[in-house]
């Protein structure tokens, strides 16, 4: 495996492990606060603790042989919650885990590192690009109305100051178009390294803002785990 591939694969593993660590911490806290719970039972808590420890080891000593364990634990959690626990962030973690596992089983071929990075990178690019297209198609997104409704009326825990900002129509219109343009034009940034850095940094800030405004904290590291693979694809163009 080439040096760059190896380094990026290791970085992907580390960031993925951080994402898993945060998820397991949260499941463990949910269990501890809801011990009478009928679907988060003690064996599930035990699985959380073991996965938490393994993710910790993987952060400091990343190796692809951890991948089957992570995939198994994510599948058990999917079954436990009868679906995705946290929408998009769970989906991204599943995609990274699947790619790492295929890589693990292809390990004896020299293709595994490349395959893993291509798969994760393509999913990462699609995640932004498709989100941009569906927003562009919706007239209510283009007018800023959808973002305003999400901020004012949705079930997310949105701080009052952002609800006040959402009452300004111009602000939601600008924010909607900035989001659409960034998501839609992201694939173009793969052609220029500096432009890619700018886009990835902007999306990182975007995820932090989503965590602050909507409480969607899991998206930060779930998506960060795909960034080394996106960078890898840009080096191959």
């Amino acid at each position: 495996m080439e040096n760059l591939e190896f380094k990026l694969l290791n970085l992907t593993l580390r960031l993925f492990a951080v994402s898993i660590f945060i998820q397991q911490m949260e499941y463990s806290l949910i269990y501890l606060k809801n011990q009478k719970n009928k679907f988060i039972k003690f064996p599930f808590f035990l699985l959380n603790i073991i996965t938490l420890c393994i993710s910790c080891v993987c952060i400091f000593d990343p190796h692809i042989s951890f991948a089957p364990y992570f995939l198994a634990s994510l599948m058990i959690q999917y079954y436990q919650f009868q679906g995705l626990f946290n929408g998009g962030s769970s989906s991204m973690s599943h995609q990274v885990a699947l790619a790492l596992n295929i890589g693990f089983f292809l390990n004896h071929l020299n293709l595994s590192g490349k395959f893993v990075l291509y798969y994760i990178g393509i999913q990462g690019i699609f995640s932004y690009w498709i989100a941009g297209i569906v927003k562009l198609i919706e007239p209510d997104w283009r007018s800023g109305h959808t973002l305003r409704q999400i901020l004012l009326f949705s079930n997310y825990q949105i701080p009052l100051k952002f609800k006040i900002i959402a009452q300004n129509h111009l602000m939601t219109l600008i924010a909607s178009w900035v989001t659409i343009i960034f998501e839609l034009f992201f694939p173009i940034s793969l052609l220029n390294k500096n432009l890619l850095y700018f886009f990835l940094f902007s999306f990182f800030i975007f995820h932090i803002m989503n965590a602050i405004v909507f409480g969607l904290n899991r998206f930060i590291f779930a998506w960060l785990a795909a960034y080394p693979a996106i960078y890898f694809i840009s080096t191959q163009l």
Binding site: Y79, S91, D140
Partner: protein, 132 residues
């Protein structure tokens, strides 16, 4: 259970607003009402947000159930009872009751949908006897 959702992602984030949901659990004999409330916002929630994510998960259980009802408007009460999403929702509801009481004797729940300014009643369950 649908395993396709595990393997095939949907990247259609926030494509439209949809609706906001509210759940009310009515305890018949205790004459009490329990609702799933938004947890308090903590300044550290951009790192760890277990309460907030658990709250969103409970609402997503409601949403899964409602999406089935909306797809099949001719669905019978018997068919609703056999839905896995309905069974799972009942577990979520029982967990909410258990936070406050040891048992609830008899209870029913209501789901409200907010599309514009106000919440409207969308679904009301039958009255259940408490069984664990």
């Amino acid at each position: 259970m649908n395993w396709l959702g595990f393997f095939i992602p949907s990247w259609r984030f926030f494509d439209r607003f949809g609706y906001a949901l509210k759940l009310e659990i009515h305890l018949v004999k205790k004459q009490d009402t329990i609702s799933i409330d938004r947890p308090k916002i903590h300044s550290t929630r951009f790192l760890l947000n277990s309460e907030g994510n658990y709250y969103l998960f409970k609402l997503s259980c409601l949403q899964r159930f409602i999406e089935i009802l909306q797809k099949h408007d001719q669905i019978t009460v018997k068919q609703i009872k056999s839905l896995p999403s309905y069974q799972f929702l009942k577990l979520v509801i029982q967990n909410e009751i258990l936070k406050k009481y040891q048992n609830a004797d008899q209870y029913f729940f209501q789901i409200f949908i907010r599309t514009d300014e106000e919440y409207e009643l969308y679904y009301q369950s039958e009255v259940f006897d408490w069984k664990i």
